[in-house]
Each structure stands twice: as C-alpha cells, then as structure tokens.
C-alpha cells in the first residue's frame, strides 16, 4: 500500500509525468505499452520462456549494428572488401560493431532454433497457437535467408564461393531452379548486380519482412497469452490449483499503512 504522499511531492510527480499523460491522452500508447510489458503470464513459466525475448534482443542488436555498418560499407565489386577492411581496421570501434553483427548473426540463428525447440518440447505450438508456429517457421526461413544474403557482403573468397554454391543449390530445384538462380544472381552470371542485389535484400527487403513477421508473432503472443509448461497442472487439462483465498482484512475498509522503514523488496510482486 503506497504511503500517503505530500502535496508537494504529488505536484512534482504530476509535472514529471505530464509528457506521458499528454501522450496517453492523445494516443493511448502509454497504456498500450504498459499492457504489453506488464500483462499476466502463468505463474509456472521459467527461464526457457525467455528464449523468444532473447531472440528478439539478438535481432534488435543486428538491426542497430547493421544500420551503423551500412554507414561505412560500400557495396561494389571493387569497393566492398576494401570498405570491410576499413571498418575492421580504421574506423573507431568498427571491429567491435562488425564483430557484434557477424557473431550476433549466429547468435540470432541459434536462439531461433533453441526457441523453436522450447516451443516444440513444451507443446506450445498446439491449439490455439498453431498459426504462431507457422509464422515462426516463416521467421526461421526469412532469418536464414537474411544470413545467406549477408554472407556475400564481405566479398572475400569465402563469401564469394559460398554464395556461388548457395545460388547453384537453389538452381537445382526442379523446374523453377534455373530461374530462381538467375533471379538471385540478377543475371546469367554473378556480376556487380549480384552484390548490390544481395545488399538490398539483406538490409531492406528481408529485414522489412522480418519486422512484419515479428510484429504478427508478438501480436499473437500477447493475444493468446503464454502457455504453461507441460508439467503444470493447468497445461495438463486441469484448471490450475485453486488460488488460496486471501485472508480477509482484519479491519475491512481501513487502509493499512506500511510501517515506516519497511523495505519495498519485502512486498509480494504481482
């Protein structure tokens, strides 16, 4: 129970929160964000349930570091590798940002698989969450495509030949394969257009698709709620253990002040 505040303190708080109130009154955004962040989840969630948020965090890291890298990267057959060299060795902290982007890409993919494994093993893909599983699969494929297109950008021998092989694997798909390969290359042979095409896909098209899919994914997570682990009574078909009735207040109608000096940490969290 909050302590009664002095009038001066209340006025100060009101002033400090005025911008938020202004925003809330005109958009409802503050309430929306609060609803998103402080929504109820089952009591028996555990650390495995954080893999999705971890994946999202990894994606956001890729987004930020990628935007910074794009400020220095020059897509062109003669300039691409030189600019990577420049980022790595000359630009202040370039090695760090590029390293975060490069290794973060692997982290993102690995976390996607771990998150997928958690959802599978917990049976969290079942009704009514099938659609979110499907969106997740699309996210996985799109994320892998993001990795594929990014791999060519350093334009060294490894990335060049890896992309040659990857494009030619696409080329072996029945019937459409040869056309798919031409589409990816931007022509019959790998050329300057291939690099700029992959760059455009990597930093505009595919991230856009990822952001859209993630938005849908999160919308469904919020709408459908987080599922309990399979060992929970609730997930086993029960209604969950009945919540113990809170003891009736000793003096109904009376506000019980918190004793002075009592720690906030001692309070039960909701």
């Amino acid at each position: 129970m909050p302590r009664r505040k002095s009038e001066r303190r209340q006025n100060m708080e009101q002033m400090a929160l005025y911008p938020l109130d202004w925003l809330e009154e005109r958009s409802g955004l503050v309430g929306g964000v609060k609803y998103f962040l402080f929504r109820k989840v089952p009591g028996d969630t555990n650390w495995f349930h954080t893999l999705g948020s971890a994946t999202l965090t990894a994606f956001l890291v890729q987004l930020v570091t990628g935007v910074i890298l794009a400020m220095y990267y020059k897509p062109g057959t003669e300039t691409a590798h030189a600019s990577i060299d420049h980022i790595q060795h000359d630009v202040t902290l370039g090695w760090l940002v590029r390293g975060m982007h490069k290794w973060g890409a692997s982290v993102f993919i690995i976390l996607m698989f771990l998150h997928m494994g958690r959802v599978f093993l917990f049976g969290a893909y079942k009704y009514p969450r099938e659609l979110n599983w499907i969106i997740g699969v699309l996210l996985l494929a799109t994320g892998l495509f993001e990795g594929l297109t990014g791999y060519l950008l350093p334009f060294d021998q490894t990335s060049y030949w890896a992309s040659v092989v990857a494009i030619n694997i696409n080329g072996t798909a029945p019937f459409v394969g040869p056309y798919l390969a031409s589409l990816l290359r931007g022509g019959a042979e790998i050329g300057p257009d291939t690099l700029s095409r992959f760059y455009s896909l990597h930093m505009l098209v595919v991230p856009g698709a990822l952001i859209g899919l993630i938005t849908l994914h999160l919308y469904l997570v919020v709408r459908l709620g987080v599922s309990s682990p399979p060992w929970s009574d609730e997930a086993a078909g029960g209604t969950g253990a009945p919540e113990p009735e809170p003891p009736p207040p000793a003096h109904p109608g009376l506000v019980q002040p918190r004793p002075r000096g009592a720690s906030l940490r001692g309070r039960p969290t909701e």
Partner: protein, 298 residues
C-alpha cells in the same frame, strides 16, 4: 418451384479453346497467345455469368416478388436500388487496386526482368594460337566482360589438339564444376615459372602451362573429372562445360559456353554430345533432366 438446371452451354468449350490457344501461343508466338487470352477471357466471362446469375433473372417475376412472411417491415427507400455508399466503397477499393497494380507492376518488372533480358555471352580473345603448344594444357585466365571488370574473371583449361582435317582443333574446358560451380583444379603440376601474359582485345590474358595428369578435381566437394572433362567420381551430375571456339586472324577466340553430356574419344578425335548450357547441379541427360526443361537466357 424447382429451379431449372442451366441448359448445356458452349461457353466452357470456347473457354477451353482459348486456354489451349494461349498455351500454344506462349510457345509459338505472342499474338496467338494474346488472341487465346482474349478468347478465354470473353468465354470465361460468359460462362461465369451463365453459372452465377444469368438464369436467375429469367425466373418468373411473381416468384421473385413473393412476400416473405416475417420480413422486415421497413420498406426499401424508393430509388435506392444501388446505394451510394456501396458504390463509393467499391470505387475506392477498385481504384486503390488499380493504382496499386499500376505502381507495383513496373517496380516488380524492374526488379525481376533485368535478370532475364539482354543476357549475352562475350567472345574472349585469348591471343595467337602459337602461344598454345600442341598437346599441352594451358590454364587461361581472362576477363570475360572488360566493361564489368574483375568480377567476370574466368578460367579455362585449353589444349591445342593439333590439326584435324587441316583445321586447328582445341579443347576448351570451363573450370566451373558441374556439381555446384566451384573452380576445379588441375590434378598435376602447374608450371608457374613458365607463365606468360598475352595482351589481347580483352585485356591481359594469363597463360600457364599445366600437366593435369589426374584430370581435374574440385576442392569443394571432391568431384573429379578426366582430361576430357568427363566425370569420374564425386557428386557432379555431368562432365565439365566447354567453350565454343573459333580462330580469327590467327587468334584463339572463345565463344559461348555449352554443357556436355558425353565425350567419346580424346583430343581432336573426341566426339562431344553437347546440349544447351545448364547450371551446375542440373542434369542434362536421363530422366532427371526432365526436371529442368527450360533454361533462362544465358
């Protein structure tokens, strides 16, 4: 009252003829395809009109106007047969769709079509044929399209086979592996100390003598080929591609690439079964080649 089934109609037949004409036209000529598309559209529309509602209008009027008991007592507003808001709704959606298509089509075409149009291979001048000793394989490295620069650097294994019926014969094997397109390496010593650079119309061409005693081997996944480029082992689905060649003013000139299904014999006597250039990993003969019936323009 039982509703009559629509009588037999010729519209579906016309529609089918249109579709056939369209498909044949796609192969034969664009005007025929356009006529087919037009026929299909017209007959399809007539057919759809027949099926969906054309007959309903022929119901006896009294059947349509029978009062339904319990129907809403609110009389329809006079003159409101097609409400204004329905029209505006449709117009907004329809115009939006038209604008969307008009904007999207050129954009998509711009993104997709250049990959398939104006694709052409470039002739490459490899210099005087006297630089190619008879019976000696040379690693020739050249820029295929100088306007695009280093990205079009390609390598071919060239062997002068001597004269065949008084005409020079060359074996011009592409180094692109028929598995997934990695560069195959010669299985034998490369005499870098005897490398020479020839200045040609295509810029500098590097020629290095090589002795591919064990044929050609791919470092990526272990595909191996004999000296004629025929597959010996590993994952490749066919032999190595070859360049067409011609002799112009005493210079060896490489032309288009083609895929090879089978080589019998060696050197100048080799009989080569050639097919249109296929991408790496795509079967060019046997039942599996049915999976790749059409190749995009190279």
């Amino acid at each position: 009252m039982e509703r009559h089934q629509p009588p037999p109609s010729l519209w579906p037949v016309g529609f089918a003829v249109g579709i056939v004409c369209l498909l044949v036209g796609l192969v034969v000529s664009w005007p025929a395809a356009a006529v087919g598309a037009g026929l299909a559209a017209v007959f399809g529309f007539l057919w759809a009109r027949d099926v969906v509602g054309g007959r309903a209008a022929e119901l006896p009027p009294e059947a349509a106007e029978e009062p339904v008991p319990g129907a809403s007592a609110v009389p329809a507003e006079p003159g409101e047969r097609y409400p204004r808001n329905v029209f505006l709704e449709g117009a907004t959606l329809g115009l939006g769709a038209v604008v969307g298509v008009v904007v999207a089509l050129p954009a998509i075409g711009f993104a997709v079509l250049p990959a398939f149009l104006k694709q052409k291979q470039h002739e490459v001048d490899l210099g005087p044929i006297t630089d190619f000793p008879e019976g000696q394989f040379m690693v020739a490295t050249f820029i295929r399209d100088p306007s695009l620069g280093d990205i079009t650097r390609r390598t071919a294994y060239i062997r002068n086979n001597g004269l065949l019926n008084g005409v020079p014969s060359f074996t011009c094997i592409s180094n692109r592996c028929a598995h997934l397109g990695c560069p195959v390496q010669p299985g034998g010593p490369v005499f870098d100390n005897k490398a020479q650079t020839v200045k040609t119309a295509n810029g500098d061409v590097t020629l290095v003598p090589v002795l591919p005693a064990a044929g050609f081997i791919c470092p990526c996944h272990g595909g191996s080929y004999d000296q004629e480029g025929s597959r010996i082992a590993g994952p490749p689905v066919r032999g190595l591609d070859r360049y067409e060649f011609l002799i112009r003013n005493g210079h060896l000139v490489l032309g288009d690439l083609y895929s090879v299904v089978k080589v019998t014999g060696t050197g100048a006597q080799a009989k080569i079964t050639k097919v249109e250039l296929h991408g790496p990993g795509q079967h060019a003969d046997g039942p599996e080649s049915w999976l790749y019936p059409l190749q995009p323009p190279h």
